[in-house]
């Protein structure tokens, strides 16, 4: 397992006690913590350069614009995008997906098919249900295989589902509930063969492993800064330039127009066309610095680290009586999701909190999948760069104590 010298020193929040115990933060799937460098970048921006972007000619405005556009370029490099203009700043994954889904809502018609999967987060599911409802298109799902969803997506059924009627195929890169890593490049290739546009929910993957949108071959990709060491309130919609050029704007207002009269308006090209109003300037700059931070750690090493912790946690947890572990039995993303027959996830999380361990319990914004698996909730431990093998021992001990209390 790769480790980095003294990495925990980079994250001020980790050095605190919760309920008298050292904080063991294992809720990274919900949001990650922020390194000093990112916090400092925000402070520096507000203390030195803060100004509105794009429309200013004075010194601060030029500095702010350069920093904001620099962040865009940095993120394009981070994703191996062909062009910074393919990076649209949004509030996060959810908004990014809504922008794309809304654009399809006005373009699809009855007979068209939206394809997604049974393992999507509500944020990559409900917007498509709404687009289907608004347009009359049909929403179809790729099944998830196995009683514990250990089989992943039913790729064998994909050829049948991927008919020429499929106009858009939206799927997650890494499941936030199961840890499943989907073969995104293959899914894109097969979708492209029938002319379907691909939309990847990369909320759990960007920042956890190297990622190359051109190698993957996706059309759109959405993610959130807050899950990858960046600030809250900033995220990205990546879109292939050729598509963005044809796409109508979503929100309208200042900064995205060329010419406005009392009768109508014309639009700037991407990315400005999709960024109406004052953007989250500090957030974008912070996200750029988060990219620097993660690249300095080396994303391939982060991937090995997270996967190794997940494997270790999976092994150690599987020794607990009655535990039901979800998702792949082999290679998995940096999280483990599990349930006990006699103890509800919220009681587990409350007990863990007493031990300083931050876990998430619930449906993980994935209610239909839970229902399919015959569950109402699971407990999830999700890992990131600052987590250690010792913390997994604390987690497992806490689970034992909880089981002892409730089950005896």
């Amino acid at each position: 397992m790769p480790t980095w010298n003294n990495i925990r020193a980079d994250f001020p929040i980790l050095h605190q006690q919760v309920n008298g115990k050292p904080l063991v933060y294992l809720d990274n799937g919900a949001t990650s913590q922020k390194p000093r460098a990112v916090i400092d970048a925000l402070v520096h921006y507000y203390e030195r350069d803060n100004s509105n972007v794009h429309r200013g000619l004075h010194a601060l405005s030029m500095r702010a614009t350069d920093a904001y556009e620099g962040a865009r370029t940095r993120i394009a490099t981070f994703l191996h995008a062909a062009d910074p203009a393919e990076i649209i700043f949004t509030r996060g994954t959810t908004e990014s997906i809504n922008i794309v889904a809304r654009s399809f809502a006005t373009r699809l018609k009855a007979g068209d098919v939206i394809l997604t999967t049974e393992m999507e987060h509500h944020s990559n599911l409900v917007p498509w249900q709404q687009a289907a409802k608004a347009s009359g298109a049909t929403l179809r799902y790729v099944s998830v295989l196995g009683a514990n969803a250990e089989g992943g997506l039913d790729l064998a059924a994909l050829d049948q589902l991927l008919t020429p009627q499929v106009k858009v195929f939206a799927f997650t890169h890494i499941s936030n509930t199961l840890g499943t890593i989907n073969p995104v490049a293959e899914l894109c290739r097969r979708a492209r063969a029938v002319g379907a546009i691909t939309v990847i929910d990369a909320a759990q993957s960007v920042g956890h492993a190297p990622l190359d949108v051109q190698a993957i071959g996706c059309d759109y990709l959405a993610f959130s800064g807050h899950k990858m060491c960046g600030p809250t309130g900033i995220g990205v919609l990546y879109g292939r330039r050729a598509l963005l050029e044809k796409l109508a704007p979503d929100e309208t207002g200042g900064g995205m127009v060329v010419n406005v009269t009392y009768e109508g308006a014309t639009w700037k090209p991407a990315p400005e066309r999709f960024e109406a109003g004052t953007p989250n300037v500090a957030g974008a700059i912070g996200l750029g610095v988060a990219c620097d931070y993660l690249d300095a750690l080396d994303r391939a090493a982060i991937e090995r680290h997270d996967h190794a912790l997940a494997r270790l946690a999976y092994e150690k947890l599987s020794t607990l009586p009655g535990i039901r572990l979800l998702g792949p039995t082999g290679e998995r993303g940096g999280l483990v999701s599990f349930a006990f027959p006699d103890v509800h996830a919220h009681d587990v999380v409350t007990f863990a909190d007493e031990d300083g361990v931050a876990l998430r319990g619930g449906h993980h914004c994935n209610q239909p999948l839970m229902r399919k698996l015959g569950l109402t909730s699971t407990t999830r431990a999700s890992f990131y760069v600052y987590n250690t093998a010792e913390e997994i021992d604390v987690l497992v001990a806490s689970m034992r104590r909880t089981l002892k209390f409730f089950v005896g």
């Binding site: 309920n19 103890v343 509800h344 996830a345 919220h346 009681d347 409350t350 007990f351 007493e354 319990g361 619930g362 449906h363 209610q367 839970m370 109402t376 909730s377 209390f405 409730f406």
Partner: protein, 151 residues
Amino acid sequence: MSADLTELYQQVILDHNRRPRNRGKLPTANRVAHGDNPSCGDQCSVYLRLDGDRIAEISFDGSGCAISQASASLMTTQLKGKTSAQAQALYDQFHEIVTTGKEPEEISDIAAFAGVHTFPARIKCATLGWHAALNALKGDAVPATTESHTD
């Protein structure tokens, strides 16, 4: 185990959680209401046979944490035989207990829930079944939730 946690998971609660009373559908029910806590996924349905204004029989069904399940179970034992007005009064007392931790003057099993008040995020678990029951009494078809913003 910390004092707070011991207070939260009292013996009465653990007992009701392990061996819930009046659990399952009520075939003779003439009122039913459903409650949801969307964020946790806790669910609770409450079935009533109302005899005039009096709860002749009551049961619940659902899933959720120990607090929500034990609370629903205990509630059914408390509400059986009560009128709507008495049920509302009991709920008011229960709500007072879980939000302030102040135990009632008369001895009652519902005092077991006093420990909830130090865990504000769990108040909505403790009140879910009660909300569903009151809705059933009102004949309210809208699913109850203890997560409305102002709760």
